[in-house]
């Protein structure tokens, strides 16, 4: 479910808080500046196996997998 968020101009009145998905040094830079940040320990879904990823996508979209 999507949460209700304020519009873009609302963003400019709020303190920036970041979720970082990917390059860890971006998190480190923000931490150093005292910006609240949470780093995601991301890894490729399904162990990077493209076939299983496609299968999972189809299941998620409610398609037949056979």
């Amino acid at each position: 479910m999507a949460e209700r968020r304020p519009p873009i101009s609302g963003l400019f009145d709020q303190p920036i808080q970041v979720i970082n998905v990917g390059v860890p040094s971006f998190s480190d830079d923000l931490k150093r500046q005292g910006v609240p940040v949470r780093h995601v320990d991301w890894r490729p879904p399904a162990g990077g196996n493209k076939r299983i990823q496609a299968l999972l996508r189809r299941i998620k979209n409610g398609e037949k997998t056979s």
């Binding site: 949460e3 873009i8 998905v21």
Partner: protein
Amino acid sequence: MPLLSQLKKDTYFDSVTLMLATNELKKIRGVHQAVIGMGTDYNLESLKRLGLLSPELADATPSDLILAVDAATEEAAVMTLREAERLLSVKKGAASGTADYAPATQAGAAKALPGANIVLISVPGDYAASEARRALDSGRHVMLFSDNVSIDDELELKTRAVEKNLLMMGPDCGTAILNGVPLAFANAVRKGDIGVVAASGTGLQEVTSLIHRMGCGVSQAIGVGGRDLSEKIGGIMTLQAVRALEDDRQTKVIVLLSKPPAEKTFHALLGVLKDVKKPVVIYFIGADPVPIERLGFAAAQNLEDAARTACRLSTGRQPSPLLSDEEIAEKASKVRLTAPSLRALYSGGTLCDEAQRILLPRLKTIHSNTPVAGCEKLPNVYQSRGHTILDLGDDEFTRGRAHPMIDPSFRQEKILSEYADPETGMLVVDVVLGYGSHPDMAGAVVRSIEEARERSPRPVVLAATLCGTEDDPQDYEKQRRTLEDAGVFVFPSNVSMVKFIVSVMSHG
């Protein structure tokens, strides 16, 4: 020759970390080849080509970490693997922090930081769109640093963002400053009343840094990704960002930086811009300023001019130039060329583009790997000829390597080879400071210059443009002194360095 390899199941590192670690390992004495990477098909194929694919690594999957070392002695190989472990454990520690738990998903991170309003995404392109979709669906703004995202995905993501009244910056968006917070590759810039929207990362860094150094400040700097003003995307995010800046109480002046938009997009953009009540400065790189001025907007001639015009509109006063034309001519009068050709080694694409455009009418023939109209494409991008202006951050140079703003090694090699070429009379670089960038690029450049001088002791005129502010983590003044102490002429903007080049070339 001893070959050692190691496979670590289910251990993931991002490509930047792995490329930088690989570089460190290659510096170890006795190491012929070292590879650390994820077990992707591409990486396994590369190992095979290099003769480094051991049976142990053959079954690796993209979620496994692979390490392979070819070294002169077994001892060197073992030491290298140990060093690899150390480098990666340091990285892992820094990223996860001492006390912070790093969840495996965005949803987990959102539970830990419920007030999060931006998701910064830099995973490989194949996975980036789905992470961005997830972020937008949770009502958060997105900065999509990743490249290799399809234009169809970009269109879908931006359309979704507009429906939800969110920002979707990127793909391939390297720079943004929101509420004074620099994100990814951005400079520490004073807060102020100038809002910038840009489809160019280094263009945004140059303009925001110059605004700061001219004494003004930035309310918001919003990157939109290089394709936003294409016909297919139609400027969706540029329009969204301009509207947001118009609503923003802190923003008094709006600056728009981009390559010239597609015809249809240009008209849509003007339709929105003409109703904007705040002054708008436009720099469509390389486009004719006259039609823009005719419509009542301030058209800038170059990046520095965009910053200066914005400051004038913000304060009502013309800011004094950071370096006057007389001062530039005076510096140029101190040197004489002893060989005819200019060699420019840029890490910033827009700065490379700007230099070509200004220099083309003066130098007549310019070669580049990324030529603008009128310049010539180098037949072999690794072999400069005549006046050559290179963008070392372009895709063909960064395959399998980190960007030259993070990793100086490729530019260091180029400094050595250009210096050794008897045709080279003048060698220039850009040094881009700020968060994300190398901690001591000036030092790295100077080390290669010194090595080059030892190898080929002859006079070459050296110049650098230093992009950044005194609040950047690298210390602007220290970087400037490092370059100047090595005999490099340092300029506060790319345009002033290009004027210096023109002046030196004209008196030969």
